[in-house]
Structure formats: structure tokens, C-alpha cells
């Protein structure tokens, strides 16, 4: 009998081209590229007279630098990066979705919606949130520019196998608690480095109930717990999501593929290097109060903690610094924190279900006085779908701005960067100092919480709009 294996081991082993003491040479099935982390890599291969080995396994998308209020890139440096990407793709025969293309969007939203990511594949991108694609049962992780160059040239990476970690969600997920809340609760529990050096398999009965889009939000933030990657073994939800997508297999290939996907699960008796178990039954919506994603508390009854209560000196100092940056006093109730800006979008929460969740809350309501909200669909396909469903009208009727697709306010790299003092409820994944603007203070929340916050003018989950007190 063969040794029981985790699904992570199965996918990893399946991609090893050869190995030696220095690690495994891992084959990469899909290489995603964007304008910010690739120019130096293309320069590198050209300088050495190399070619792109598999342009047909490479897809480039413009997302980080592009504005979402116009098709004109006004910033000369951003525009130079985008231009360079276009030239590089044209020269090397790489499929490329430009700003303005109906298939453009945030790279981690675009690839799955086309069916380009499938169970058992290996996926890399010069972007840490490549972990998103693990939702499809793929081994997907972010790499730096030197690795981008290595993959362009060889379609492989030389890498030591990371450790494995099981995150088991058990119990019954209460109504009103979103996948984003689930992953924020996990990070609050294990810390922003709780999964360092590991690939996570999200397991347990709760995961099976979560939609593909929800799984993407959860895998997206695996990296916020420090993990190399996070994935969910494929099941019927995965099959239903992929069926009929443009790049998904069809005909007899579909049956063959499905049969193989069904083998992709952790064998009974397989062991993980680390296991974390979270009972979701008592969870409520979360929001961050600090400057790393682990510094989070419950929206309903949470308060900003007193740094003095942290026993670890490093954590205490970090909390102290975070409160200074965030301009918050210990003991402040989260629900008393006033917000002036709301961002709905990003590769964490820019998918159609996210927009639906926010629209449901905003329907028939208006943004609070002084609150500005921008809604940035994760892709132009998501935008189109939302318009077919009339969601854009709900947003604009509430007073929010309806935008084109891109990374937008998730990171301060494009014209959506905040310039003045701002306190933001953001559905993105990082609340680092100055990430959204030099004087921006970020509170990470779910789409429903973002919408309720926009209506209330302070941090709030939907039930608080109806008078709930916790």
C-alpha cells in the first residue's frame, strides 16, 4: 500500500521534473504576469539572449497601475510600465489583456473566470495573492521578479517543498458571517505569521458549503497569515464552477478531467506538519483595528485593545505603533469608529457575489453624509454581469461611484491612491501603514460590512443597521 498523502503532496509530487539536494525543479502550468513585477524579468531574458519557453502557458493582464475612472493612464511612470508590458507580450507572443479590453481585470479574478485555473495545476505570478487560485484545487503561489524570469525562460522553478498545514473549519457558519470574516478570524487567531513556511489546506465540513468565490477570498488571504499558498481540494462546487467556462475542458476531456479531479483529496491517515481547528459557530463579522491583518476584532462588540495587555513585547510594541498610526485610543468600540471612505473591490472581494452582498445591503439606502464609496469590479466581466443584474444602479442610487476594473485603492499605485487624511473601510487584504495613501488609515472588512459601514458612517455590520446591538 502506498503512503497516504495530502492533496498538497499529490499536486507537488505531480509537478516535480527532477530533484537534488538543492530542492525540486517544479513545472509551472500557468504563469500569470502583470505590468509591475515583469519588466526586469523580460529585460533579463533578453539580455541573456533567452526566449520565453512557453508563451502559450503565460497570460498577461494590466491591473496594478491602471486608473478605474478612465481608459487614459495619466501617470507617466505607470504608463511606461504598461507600455513595456504590451511591447514584451507582442515580442514574445504572449496573450495579453489591456486596459479597456472586455477581459481585463485584476489578474487573480480574470484567470479563474476564464476557466484557466483547474484542479491539480501549478500556478505562479509575480504577486503574493496568487494564493487565490488555490480555491480551484491548484497549487498557486506568488514569486519575485527573478523567479518570474526563471519561469519565463524555463517554465519551472527550483524550490524546496514547504511544510503543510491543515486549517479545519468546523461547526455551523452563522448567517451574516462571510468567507472574509472566516479568514480574518483565522488570521486574528494564528497571527500574521502563523502559517509562515506552510501551504494550507482548508478543510472541514464548513469549506464544502462555501461557494467558489468565497473560497477564493479565503485562499487569497492565506498569504496574510504568512502562508506560501492555501488551497481547497476540488469537489462538486469546483466542478460546477468550471463547467462551461471558456478554457475548461469539454466533451470526453471533461469526463477524463473530472475523474482525475476526484482523486485530488487528502488520503485518510495522511499527516500535516501543523493543524489548526476553528469552530465557526460563534463567529461574527470582523474588522481590523491595526496595521497588520492579524490585528482584528469583532465589529459588533469588539473594542480596540490596550497594548499593555499584550504579554509578548514585540506584539505590544506593534499594537502601540498601530494605535498611533491609526489614531485610535484603547477601549474604543469598533462600532464608534467613524469612516469617510469605503472601497469595495480587489482580488479578495471584487467578484460578483461580493458585489451582490454589498448591493443587498445598499438597496433602498443612501451613504451617510460625508462618506465616499467607490465600487471597483474585479474584472470587466464582473462589471458586465453586475450591470446585467442592475447592481450598478443600486450602487449609484446609494451615492457610490461605479468604476472600471483594476487594483484601484487596494494599493497606492494608481490614481485611486488617497491623497488627504482618510479613514477607509476596505474589502481588500492589507491594512499596512500608508498602503492606500500617505495619510490613509485602513480597516479591512467584508463586502456586507463595507456596505453597512457606508450607510452608518461608522464601522457596522448589516444587522446593526436594523438596530442589533452586537
Amino acid at each position: 500500500m502506498t503512503r497516504p498523502k495530502t492533496v498538497i503532496d499529490k499536486i507537488w509530487d505531480d509537478h516535480v521534473v527532477c530533484s537534488d539536494a538543492k530542492g525540486d525543479l517544479l513545472y509551472i502550468d500557468l504563469h500569470l504576469v502583470h505590468e509591475v513585477t515583469s519588466p526586469q524579468a523580460f529585460d533579463g531574458i533578453e539580455h541573456e539572449g533567452r526566449r520565453v519557453r512557453r508563451p502559450d502557458l503565460t497570460l498577461a493582464v494590466e491591473d496594478h497601475n491602471v486608473p478605474t475612472d478612465s481608459l487614459l493612464i495619466r501617470d507617466p511612470m505607470g504608463s511606461a510600465q504598461v507600455e513595456r508590458l504590451r511591447e514584451n507580450c507582442a515580442r514574445h507572443g504572449i496573450e495579453h489583456f489591456a486596459h479597456g479590453d472586455e477581459r481585463q481585470g485584476v489578474v487573480h479574478v480574470v484567470a479563474p473566470e476564464l476557466g484557466l485555473v483547474q484542479p491539480g495545476m501549478s500556478v505562479v505570478c509575480g504577486d503574493s495573492h496568487t494564493s487565490t487560485h488555490g480555491a480551484l484545487g491548484a497549487l498557486a503561489f506568488g514569486v519575485g521578479t527573478s523567479d518570474v524570469e526563471h519561469v519565463l525562460a524555463t517554465q519551472t522553478l527550483r524550490i524546496t517543498k514547504p511544510a503543510t498545514m491543515a486549517v479545519e473549519f468546523v461547526g455551523t457558519l452563522p448567517a451574516g458571517v462571510s468567507p472574509k470574516d472566516l479568514v480574518m478570524a483565522l488570521i486574528a487567531e494564528i497571527g500574521a505569521n502563523g502559517a509562515n513556511g506552510h501551504v494550507i489546506e482548508y478543510r472541514g465540513p464548513v469549506m464544502r458549503e462555501i461557494s467558489m468565490e468565497g473560497r477564493m477570498s479565503i485562499c487569497n488571504m492565506a498569504v496574510e497569515a504568512g502562508a506560501r499558498a492555501g488551497l481547497v481540494a476540488p469537489d462538486e462546487v469546483t466542478e460546477e464552477y468550471l463547467r462551461g467556462r471558456p478554457a475548461a475542458p469539454s466533451g470526453s476531456r471533461w469526463d477524463e478531467a473530472v475523474a482525475a479531479w476526484r482523486e485530488l483529496r487528502t488520503d485518510d491517515g495522511a499527516s500535516f506538519d501543523k493543524t489548526v481547528r476553528i469552530d465557526v459557530s460563534t463567529l461574527t463579522p470582523y474588522a481590523t483595528w491595526g496595521t497588520n491583518p492579524g490585528q482584528a476584532a469583532r465589529v459588533g462588540d469588539g473594542v480596540v485593545p490596550d497594548p499593555a495587555t499584550f504579554t509578548d513585547p514585540g506584539e505590544r510594541a506593534a499594537a502601540q505603533r498601530a494605535l498611533e498610526y491609526m489614531g485610535l485610543a484603547p477601549g474604543t468600540r469598533l462600532r464608534d469608529i467613524k469612516i469617510d471612505t469605503v472601497f469595495l473591490g480587489s482580488c479578495t472581494n471584487g467578484r460578483i457575489e461580493d458585489l451582490r452582498a454589498a448591493a443587498e445591503v445598499l438597496e433602498g439606502r443612501r451613504l451617510a453624509n460625508g462618506v465616499r464609496m467607490i465600487v471597483v469590479p474585479g474584472s470587466m466581466q464582473v462589471r458586465k454581469q453586475a450591470e446585467q443584474e442592475g447592481l450598478h444602479e443600486v450602487f449609484t442610487a446609494a451615492g457610490a461611484q461605479w468604476r472600471l476594473s483594476g487594483c484601484s485603492m487596494c494599493l497606492g499605485m494608481n490614481t485611486d491612491r488617497l491623497t488627504g487624511p482618510a479613514r477607509v473601510a476596505s474589502t481588500s487584504n492589507r491594512n499596512y501603514e500608508r498602503r492606500q495613501g500617505d495619510h490613509a488609515r485602513t480597516h479591512l472588512v467584508s463586502p456586507a460590512t463595507a456596505a453597512a459601514t457606508a450607510v452608518a458612517g461608522h464601522l457596522a455590520a448589516p444587522q446593526h443597521l436594523d438596530g442589533a446591538t452586537t
Binding site: 513545472y27 500557468l30 531574458i45 512557453r54 525562460a153 505569521n193 509562515n196 491612491r417 492589507r430
Partner: protein
């Protein structure tokens, strides 16, 4: 691309007593809008420069080549620019309790050595450096040892990384020598895994590349 070999390095250290220093702090996004691999020193900790007493602003610490930080250094984004900025400033090594995974890998690739020590050892080293900023710190990758006058601490480093650093090898060149293996592997890939060619996804229709 060939990395600069790293075997034994001696230099002064600088202490940044903070945990969870993320890559957005090491180099903010606006400094990543460039097309080059060099010249990022101006962006290093740009958001923190000018804060009272910030170590990078102290002229007497300008020659430091070893940065000592807290835990989870380099957490966050995959931007290799963070490593380039530290390297371009003049750092050859970062000592911390732990590192973000992608940062750590990027560091090795660029000849910047990430050294993990225990919390106690990092604290003791930080105290010693702050008491005597001119104290030489020696990092010996061959012996896997960090030495200061009168102390010696060993550290772990994975074999791939050590090999790369000590030899300063062109990793792509090495992988190209495995071409036969790669080509053979490609024959075994699942036939339904997608492949793209320009235009194959246009108009909402997918035409698989042959």
C-alpha cells in the same frame, strides 16, 4: 542573471526594533513603478524616513551593512523591489526572528542573506549593537555562524539558498541544463490543461491552441 557570491561578511549593524515590517514599508508602491533592477535606495523605508530618531537617517549609521529587525520581516507583497532597495542601500544581510516566505526567497536570489536567530538572540544582538554601533558583526555563511566580539551564534540556512549564495550561480543557466528532463515532463502533462495563444480567448470564445 548572476548573483554576487556571499561567503563571509563583516560590517556594522543597524537595529530596527519592529515586528512585522511589511514590504510596503520597506519600499512603498510608488517607488516600484520603475523598469530597472537597480537604484531603489531612495525608496527604502521612505514612509518612515524623517520620523524622529529613525536609524536610517542617522549619519553615523550610514555605513551599516547588516540590518537587525524583529519577527516576520518582509511580510506581505512579492515585490523583489524590497530586496533591491535594501541591497542598493548597502545592506548585505538582515538578521530577524523570522521572515516572510517570498521575501526570504527573493533575498537569497539577490545575494542578500536573511539570517534567522531566536527571539532572545536577536534581542541580545540588538542591545549590543545599540550600545556600540561600531561593533563589527561577522556573518559566516560557510560555517553558518554569526559572530560578534566574544559571541558566536549558529543559524540554519537551506541548501539551495546556501549553494546559490556561496557560488553566485546563474540559476536559469543551471536549470537549462535540465532541458531533457523538462521536455520529457511536458509529454506527461494532462491533456486538458489549458494553453493559450494570442487571440484564443477573444470574443468570449475559447479556441485551444494545438
Amino acid at each position: 542573471m548572476t548573483t554576487t557570491p556571499f561567503t563571509v561578511h563583516s560590517g556594522r549593524a543597524m537595529v530596527l526594533r519592529r515586528d512585522d515590517i511589511d514590504t510596503d514599508q520597506i519600499i512603498p508602491a510608488e517607488f516600484c513603478k520603475r523598469l530597472t533592477k537597480h537604484g531603489y535606495e531612495d525608496g527604502l523605508f521612505a514612509g518612515w524616513r524623517g520620523e524622529p530618531g529613525f536609524p536610517l537617517d542617522q549619519p553615523h549609521l550610514r555605513s551599516a551593512t547588516v540590518l537587525v529587525a524583529g519577527s516576520n520581516f518582509g511580510t506581505g507583497s512579492s515585490r523583489e523591489h524590497a530586496v533591491w532597495a535594501l541591497r542598493d542601500w548597502g545592506f548585505r544581510a538582515v538578521v530577524a526572528v523570522s521572515f516572510g516566505d517570498i521575501f526570504r526567497r527573493n533575498a537569497f536570489t539577490n545575494g542578500l542573506l536573511p539570517v534567522c536567530l531566536s527571539k532572545e538572540d536577536v534581542a541580545a544582538l540588538s542591545d549590543a549593537v545599540e550600545a556600540d554601533p561600531a561593533m563589527p558583526v561577522t556573518i559566516d555563511l560557510l560555517e553558518r555562524e554569526l559572530r560578534t566580539p566574544g559571541t558566536s551564534r549558529s543559524f540554519d540556512v537551506d541548501e539551495r539558498a546556501r549553494h546559490l549564495l556561496v557560488n553566485g550561480l546563474d540559476e536559469i543557466g543551471l536549470t537549462e541544463q535540465q532541458e531533457q528532463h523538462i521536455a520529457r515532463y511536458e509529454l506527461t502533462r494532462r491533456p486538458w490543461f489549458p494553453s493559450l495563444r494570442p487571440g484564443c480567448l477573444s470574443g468570449g470564445r475559447w479556441q485551444a491552441a494545438r
